[in-house]
Amino acid sequence: MMGSARLDDKEMRQTYADTILELARNDDRVIALEADLSSAMTTSRLEKELPGQFVNVGIMEANMMGIAAGLSIVGRKPFIHSFGQFVTRRAFDQLFVSLGYAKLSAVIVGSDAGVTAEHNGGTHMTFEDIALVREIPNAHVYEASDSYQLQYLLKKAYKEGGLHYIRTIRKKAVKLYDENETFEKAKVLRSGKDVTIIASGIMVAESLQAAVQLSQMGMEATVIDMFSIKPLDIDTLIEAAKATGVVVTAENHNVNGGLGSAVAEALSENFPVPLYRIGVRERFGQVGQTEYLKKVYGLNAETIVKEVKNRLEVVI
């Protein structure tokens, strides 16, 4: 399943476009919406291939939420994409009221997660999108860690209906899964007795790397891909917490409101264990290459190893 860090064959954006195409060909109610970022997402081709099932609304993210709400009312199945910050913080009240509170169905995909916004910098670097959408009652919140998982989650969201937010990167992720995997429960990718590392998105591959390094130092880690931040798979979480007694979370997001918070809340209500959240703390984004930014914000295997060692020393 994991091995060395091999990249996906396909970029996440191509997977998005291909999956929409597949769904749309089989269901003419499917409609994809873009807000002047379709060339960035490789969905421009859908305009030709899917007449009547694609609309570029222009640079109007807030309006796009309302348009999608209207489309949903008349029976369409909207898939909405823009960069993560624009479909969440830019358009949050519209997302909250017109889709969430109005109990309409839509799948919203926010790309360029966290540091992968790279040279678009602070205005575009979203470390809070998951926190925002998680506040909307009944909304499902996912972060895809590889291309196949993204495809699966898009189809799952399509089948289930309701409001779904899927956070992605745009380019190639580290390949984690074969095409026979299912994503109905959190994925336990590795089992160890000493510590549980819970991650999502790009931090899953970093956690697996960290686990290998920790193992070489004599510490065995369980690694869980918690791709669904809401609903959270509390059973898998508690089972792992019971088995290891220490939990570390890792996310390309602010530690407040995202995966780390969700895990902390669930553990403290159900089975409190020592916990540390790796992620962005009280900082905005900035321009830079992904690898550089991972270092700047401590979003890498090195930080995970360091923090796990810190926790285990305290516990032991």
Binding site: D36, S39, N63, H119, G122, H124, V287
Partner: protein, 283 residues
């Protein structure tokens, strides 16, 4: 320096030259929308804006907000030429740890008045600056450049209503009508109809000028400064990639990672500009 019309043309060439060099240093960027505002920046910074790098916080200065923040590279070339920072700094655009990010950041870059990059927000802040200066009885001017695609955003029209309602006659909005947004032609994605008529309907004085002609832009600003009781919109008829014919003709010229052919064409444009600049201001 006494600014003459030739000087403005010369200044525009300088800005274009350094914008291209700066973008080449990092290897990718928003070429199209940076180049289409070069002439407007040359007229503003070469003649109209009362600003001084040595007295950058003077409350009586004029203010400029680049609402279409992705044009940052052209603004940075201009600020470098106005001595806000060094040439060395200019070539750090978008490098790890830089003070010159893709989108202008008021906390990072000397001379940048407002942080922009999320389209539609800069024009509101500019209206706020103009409003505050008016409330405080100052007679300085506030200028903003918005993109024709950016004007898709409803927030722009909220700012426009606010400025007209409050009779912000020391507020000038430039609309960079380069006819393209990110995914293609504005007319295909979101028909802008006639910006001059729209702005007039919203209570602005408005006119359309050749956005590649520094004299025409200058005269429009002079007319704006004579007006009272009403803000002005100057619609700049421009071309995305303006001033580099190869880039003007390139269909996808919003964000470019130059190919070999692109690089050769950009190098040729740079050589041509360099030759023109070598002749000096008063050639």
């Amino acid at each position: 320096m006494q600014v003459t019309e030739t000087n403005l043309q010369f200044f525009a060439k300088q800005i274009r030259f350094y914008t291209l060099k700066e973008l080449q240093a990092v290897g990718f960027g928003h070429y199209g929308g940076s180049l289409s505002i070069v002439e407007a920046l040359a007229v503003l910074y070469g003649k109209h804006l009362t600003i001084d790098a040595d007295d950058a916080n003077n409350p009586d200065r004029d203010y400029f907000v680049l609402s279409k923040g992705h044009g940052g590279p052209a603004l940075y070339a201009t600020l470098f030429l106005k001595k806000f920072f060094s040439e060395e700094t200019l070539y750090t655009l978008n490098q790890n740890g830089t003070t010159l990010p893709s989108h202008p950041d008021r906390n990072l870059t000397p001379g940048v008045e407002m942080t922009t990059g999320s389209l539609g927000q800069g024009i509101s802040a500019a209206a706020g600056i103009a409003f505050g200066n008016k409330l405080d009885g100052r007679s300085n001017y506030t200028y903003a450049i918005v993109g024709d695609g950016e004007l898709n955003e409803g927030q722009c029209w909220e700012a426009i209503q606010f400025a007209a309602h409050h009779k912000l006659d020391h507020f000038v909005v430039f609309i960079d009508e380069n006819k393209k947004q990110l995914d293609g032609l504005t007319i295909d994605i979101m028909n802008p109809f006639d910006f001059v008529e729209k702005m007039k309907a919203f209570g602005f004085a408005a006119e359309r000028v050749d956005g590649s002609n520094v004299d025409a832009i200058d005269e429009a600003i002079q007319r704006a400064k004579k007006r009272s009781g009403q803000p002005t919109a100057i619609v700049l008829d421009t071309t995305k990639g303006q001033g580099v014919s190869y880039l003007e003709e390139k269909v996808d010229n919003h964000h470019i990672r130059p190919s070999m052919d692109d690089t050769n064409a950009i190098n040729a444009a740079l050589a041509e500009l360099e030759k023109a600049l070598a002749g000096g201001e008063n050639q």
